[in-house]
């Protein structure tokens, strides 16, 4: 069976910010290849256009009036954060982009 290269799997893992063990890399080389082949099959559709897959709904997007609605308190807004610092959500330091 065809497999993705080790580098391809690591690239996807990096984009998803997950680390993989050697065992997992091997496993995903096969599994991701199956996924990729399925996607390629879709691309074989005659006159394939990504927009065809975009929305099952006809008609225009509905626009919302510019009005302010209910908002959360700082306490509720941060309630699921693993770490807080006052009203802020605290995360490991980000390299500032």
């Amino acid at each position: 069976m065809d497999k993705l290269t080790r580098e391809e799997v690591l690239h996807v893992a990096h984009l998803a910010r997950i680390s993989l063990t050697e065992e997992e890399i091997e496993k995903f080389r096969g599994e991701l290849k199956i996924l990729m082949d399925d996607i390629d099959k879709i691309k074989e559709i005659k006159d394939f256009d990504e927009e065809m897959m975009y929305t099952p709904v006809d008609g225009n997007a509905r626009l919302r009036e510019d009005e302010i609605g209910d908002m959360l308190s700082a306490k509720d807004a941060t309630i699921n954060a693993p770490k807080k610092n006052g009203s802020f959500i605290e995360v490991p330091v980000m390299i500032n982009e």
Binding site: H11, L15, A16, R17, E50, E51, Y54, T55, V57, G59, N60, A61, R62, L63, R64, E65, D66, E67, I68, G69, D70, M71, L72, S73, A74, A77, T78, N85, G86, S87, F88, I89, E90, V91, P92, V93, M94, I95, N96, E97
Partner: protein, 472 residues
């Protein structure tokens, strides 16, 4: 003359004015308490769905129009995927393939030469949360998450820092006047990122991007610094790397932030949670109806009214005074005098009290009356200066104020002559000094006349009468 040709493009992000955010109805406002202008959509909770704010689409249409862009009629949004704590959905909703505006331009003038800075495209997208870095941690405030942004991208057609500054100044003026953004670089509501490359021939050199530039002036400095730095590197046989740098105001130079190792892989795809958006002619026209007169239109209009270019620029620089002045045009009066008053006594009153003209009691009728009184010499400029607080703060008429401040009919020459005679009689020493050629004595005597009349006379006229009397 350098053998290299610089090529510069600029990306500008502005925060768009609206009540609510782009895809959620929490407040789009600056300066609220941390994490209080937030709802579950801004926080990227599973199961939530974005809805488009109508006003932002209108603002996008207006921006496209004032930047002379083609307006896209049928558009969709796209997901830009990346993992970063500033965006818990792990994607930003933006417009990648169908930006709301394309192929526009902004006309600038540098050293007397006009040039069109071409706009490649402008698109609508959401802002990320704001992060502050404290040692080993970063602190996140989601008030900014979902705030509407418009990104404006020029073609690589800018040649130097001067052109860049002229473009940004013009862009800022347009967006500010059209009420699209308040464009405060210090608060981050306008962010400019120039990219610079240099080359000896028609091919483009390696692009260096500069971020975190704090003012339009600094953008100019950063660009000119970067051109010089790249020239020196190439002359020394070094290679320029594709990198992101920041500008340090104090050192006046750009500093490396990071090298771009690989192309970004954002895996854009069409945002499936928002259907297509098709703009009708009616919707576009309605949106454009709300546009006020823009600076270049104002310049033409004011020139026709006889205002000087200095007055015009000062007026345009002060949007609230300008708005007030536009209302005054419904009245027949001397507009040059009106602008003089607005830019002098009235502006200094407003600055001193930190108020806007529309918050004061200076009605158009009252201002017209003041101008009439100035022209008929019933009031002097000095009178207006003295009366300014009352004019701005009370409903009293000019007649009432003249009585209250004891302002006499100053056009009456005989009254002035009377005062002059009295002053000459009471100050014989100074009169002698004047006759002996001491010019300062005249100033003193003039001061006495103004004191006697409590400043209620036309100084020029009083001065003439005084000199005439002294020379008798």
């Amino acid at each position: 003359m350098s053998e290299f040709t610089p090529t510069i493009g600029i990306e500008v992000h502005v925060e768009v004015k609206s009540k609510s955010k782009l895809f959620s109805n929490s407040a789009n406002s600056y300066g609220m308490a941390t994490n209080t202008s937030v709802n579950v959509i801004d926080l990227g909770y599973p199961g939530t769905l974005p809805t488009i704010n109508k006003e932002i689409i209108r603002q996008g249409i207006r921006t496209a129009h004032i930047l002379n862009c083609d307006i896209t009629r049928r558009m969709h949004f796209d997901r830009k995927n990346y993992f970063y704590p500033d965006n818990p959905k792990n994607y930003q909703i933006t417009q990648n393939r169908t930006p709301i505006g394309r192929n526009g331009y902004v006309e600038i003038e540098v050293d007397g030469t006009k040039k069109k800075i071409e706009i490649e495209e402008l698109h609508i997208e959401e802002d990320t949360c704001k992060s502050a870095h404290r040692g080993s941690v970063s602190l996140l405030d989601f008030n900014r998450a979902g705030v509407p942004l418009i990104e404006i991208v020029t073609k690589p057609c800018i040649k130097n820092g001067k052109e860049a500054m002229a473009y940004l100044t013009k862009l800022k003026e347009l967006l500010f006047y059209a009420n699209i953004s308040d464009c405060k670089m210090e608060e981050g509501s306008m962010r400019c990122e120039p990219n610079i490359s240099i080359s000896k021939d028609d091919s483009f050199g390696t692009k260096v991007e500069v971020k975190n530039v704090s003012s339009i002036h600094s953008v100019g400095l950063a660009i000119d610094y970067e051109i010089k730095r790249q020239e020196e590197m190439l002359n020394n046989g070094e290679t320029i790397k594709e990198e992101t740098r920041r500008f340090d105001d104090k050192q006046g130079k750009t500093i490396l932030m990071r090298v771009k190792e690989t192309g970004n892989d954002y895996r854009y795809f069409i945002e499936p949670d928002i259907p297509y958006l098709e703009l009708t002619d009616d919707f576009i026209n309605e949106s454009l109806n709300a546009l006020p007169l823009l600076p270049d239109e104002l310049r033409k209009k004011y020139t026709n009214l006889g205002l000087s270019s200095l007055q015009i620029e000062k007026l345009i620089n002060n949007r609230s005074l300008n708005t007030y002045f536009l209302g005054l045009l419904d009245y027949k009066t001397n507009y040059v005098t009106a602008v003089n008053l607005l830019l002098s006594d009235i502006a200094s009153y407003l600055n001193k009290h930190n108020r806007l003209i529309l918050e004061t009691k200076l009605s158009y009728e009252k201002l017209v009356k003041v101008i009439e009184s100035l022209e008929s010499k019933e009031l002097s400029n000095k009178n207006v200066k003295d009366l300014i607080d009352s004019l701005m703060e009370t409903d009293k008429s000019i007649e009432e104020l003249k009585k209250e401040f004891n302002i006499e009919n100053i056009t009456d020459d005989s009254f002035i002559k009377e005062v002059v005679t009295k002053v000459i009689e009471n100050n014989t020493d100074s009169v002698n000094d004047y006759k002996n050629g001491h010019d300062r004595a005249l100033k003193y005597l003039m001061g006495q006349v103004m004191k006697e009349t409590k400043g209620a006379v036309n100084p020029k006229k009083a001065n003439d009468i005084l000199i005439e009397a002294l020379n008798k």
